[in-house]
Symmetry: C2
Subunit: 248 residues, 2 copies
Amino acid sequence: MTGPVVVLVDPQMGENIGMCARAMLNCGLTEMRIVRPRDGWPNQKAIDASSGAVDVIENAALFDTVEEAVADLTRIYATTGRKREMVETVMTPRAAAADIRKRESTGTERCGVLFGGERSGLTTEDVALADVILRVPLNPDFKSLNLAQAVLLVGYEWFTAEDATPDSTVDIGDSRPATRNEIDIMIERLGRGLDDGGFFRSPDMRPTVMRNIRMLFQRSGLTDQDIRTVHGIVESLRRAGPEPRKGG
Amino acid sequence: MTGPVVVLVDPQMGENIGMCARAMLNCGLTEMRIVRPRDGWPNQKAIDASSGAVDVIENAALFDTVEEAVADLTRIYATTGRKREMVETVMTPRAAAADIRKRESTGTERCGVLFGGERSGLTTEDVALADVILRVPLNPDFKSLNLAQAVLLVGYEWFTAEDATPDSTVDIGDSRPATRNEIDIMIERLGRGLDDGGFFRSPDMRPTVMRNIRMLFQRSGLTDQDIRTVHGIVESLRRAGPEPRKGG
């Protein structure tokens, strides 16, 4: 995977360029291009703020104009929150991420995303160079993102567009999931203890209550270690004998 | 929509708390809780860095322990990149966002997300208080996010989980899409001009080439203004007459 080129247009603070590099590498993006950085280049503050994404900073290419920075690209996306008086396709970062993945997979396309500077974002001329406007869905009453955060969201969508992380898993370390038989034995032992302790006022309620108790344990996704723990709890509580009466 | 409570545990720099507030409000989240801020509270740097999300800062509640900060919540998510030696459900922010939306829609649940401080993140004890571990899918070789960026990604997923923004649209400002008949008339006029200019070497190729030209225009999603522009182009080019021969 290569991923889109990140083009920073008129960025001001070196710290922000560095934080962009960090956000890029968080998402597996490595190719940064910079157009007219206000404070010159190279910039030590950018390196300091990159939190280790130094390669991204050191390999960043410098350009005098946006046209030169995107000359070799086949598909250009411009991030902007403002509405423009022009006719252009507008995509969410998620849709654009899928679009970029599809185009890059052909091997003939190279995509880039333009990000405007801190002060005023991209000019209308910059946006007109792009094929697509990228607009992040955010709180309409407070939608101004800082530069590195805009880069992070676009990169994150690109990264997760093909990431195979399951939505939800259970980490069980060195344990293994309990077998149904292990759960049965544990529930039976618990049930005997409850019988002996007079838990069930009426025998009629026993099946329902025991089923609810079983469900309570099953919902938690028991491991072999959990089973041993519950056995230990049952044994200990029985051995402990009755609690002393309050005030008795 | 209310959204999850954001709980910052042992945050250090006021600037980072401020940037968290900004990221929260970007995503429509407003309830911040802070456990043991290193540099005290209130913190002017937090207000300065919030870029206008001052209400979030001023309404933030302060706590001495994580237990107190989450006491009224029904469902707690802990953000951590590190693997822990415990059995716990792990979700992506996207799956957790859907989970939070579903739970909050019942009106009986209140969710919260724990974020650890800049230095070392959440302790294992903090994580054990949570029902679910939230792990952001990122570059496995460079996955450390700064605090505000972690808050942003979780908030962004929560916001977009019910955001109705279409994946892709075309902004056409004050224009309206061209009708099929307007396109037909434009293409016919263009065709006449090409006939007069000897564009078609062989009459056989005319239907195919004209169809390709029509597709080229249709792909761009023409507006009524575009149609007028193309009419003007055809008219002007015909009026301009032949280009002078080079070197002639």
